[in-house]
Structure formats: C-alpha cells, structure tokens
Amino acid sequence: MKNDLLFDFTVDKAAKTVFITREFDAELSLVWDAFTKQEILDQWTAPAPWTAKTKYMNFEVGGKRFYAMVGPDGQESWIVQEYTSITPKTNFKMLNAFADKDENRQLPGSEWEYNFSEQNGVTKVKITIFNESFDRMEKLLEGFQQGFSMTLEKLENLLTNLTQK
C-alpha cells in the first residue's frame, strides 16, 4: 500500500465548513463504489471498534441511507443520509442528520458534498462539510467518546490483569 497518499483537513470556522481531501490507491470506479454501495460502506464508515450497520439504502436523488453505528457494547447511534444530487462517478451531495431508531431526524443536520477525480490510478476525493449548528455536530462525538472511554477502560483492565499474572 502506498504511504504517500494525501490527507488534508482544513476548517473555515466562520463559514462553518470543513474541507477534507484524501487520495486512495485505487481506480475511480472502485472508490466511487466504496462511497455509494451499502455492502462496502458498512465495512469502513464507523471508526473501529464501532461498526456500521445499514438498515436500508437507495442511492438515488431523494433516496436515503439509514444506518447505525454500533458500539462495542451494543449501543446504537442512528444516522439518516439523504441524497440530494448525484452525478455518477463525479459528484454527489447529501444531507446528514442524526436520528432515533425510528428514523426521526434531528434537524438541521449537515450538508456533505463529495467530488471524485482520478490521476494515474490514484483517486482523489474532496469532501466539503457544511454545518449550520455546532451543538448538533458536537453530538456526534458524545456517543463516540463514551464508546472510546469504555474501550480504554477495558484495555486498562486487561493490562492490569496481564501484569498481575
């Protein structure tokens, strides 16, 4: 695997926007699939030890992906992504919002735009994330932080047990 792949993360606080650029060592059609097909999305769209579980997904304008990020202790954090614009293998936009398990969305969510381009077998993905509200955005991490600290606790316990032996 190439290690010189670009990862760029910048924030324009005043514009409430986050910009991310990331290169992937794969051809465009594969990377496009990885961002738009349920079976591949579920393999990477939750940071370990969390896992992603899609309940349903229709990748079309007006369609949605309704999925949960499932924590190590089974806690679920539901997200609805609604596709607002799609230009195959070039660009798509979606509205991202947290929800409960019955798909009731907490609005306003954030607006995500993805742009794909390929050069010499390396695919560049440019992501723009616009957030109307910081408090709303902050909620995303609350769940993770609980999950992360629990995992750390487990690790500590494990280490303690190991050193005692």
Partner: protein
Amino acid sequence: MKQDIFQAIADPTRRAILALIAIQALTPNVMAEKFDMSRQAVSKHIKVLHECELIKPVQSGREIYYHFNPKKMQELDKWLSQFRKIQETQFNQLDKVLSTIKKQKK
C-alpha cells in the same frame, strides 16, 4: 435559547469584536465607539457572544467589562481535532477495504 457557537462566529462584526477583546477587555460603550455602531446594535452582538460563552462580563465599579473566554474556542478546536481523527481512522479502514477488493479482483 442557547446560542450556537457556529452562529456566533459566522458574523463578521462579532468576529471583529472577539478579535478586539481578545487583546483587551472592553465595555459596551467603548465597543460601540470603536465599531461606530449604536449601543443597541452592540448589545445585540454581546448577547449572542455571551450566550454561547465566548465572552464573559466582569463588573468593575459601575462599568461592565467583557472578556474573551478562550475555553469555549478551545472546545471547538478539540472537537474538530477529534472529528479529524475519526475521519482519518475511517479512511485508513477504507484503504484496507480497497486493497482487499483489488486483490480479490486479480
């Protein structure tokens, strides 16, 4: 209603006020003078900034001085760095998924 920090800093006048009081605490009257605004307009901005805890009032005699509260801005930075980490983790996971798919195709 509690003000949102994104809304608070999206406004150029409020950013200018923050930049100014980050250097030195000011009273609403002085702020109005510096920005050539009405006292009423300044009060509105102060209210927004105060409600999201970006500034805090300190009474000094008969005057109220507004101080910059860096803690709130640090919260935002902390959040952003964690968000960045999560994105990074996910993309590293995707690298592995892509390389697995590529191998299967061969």
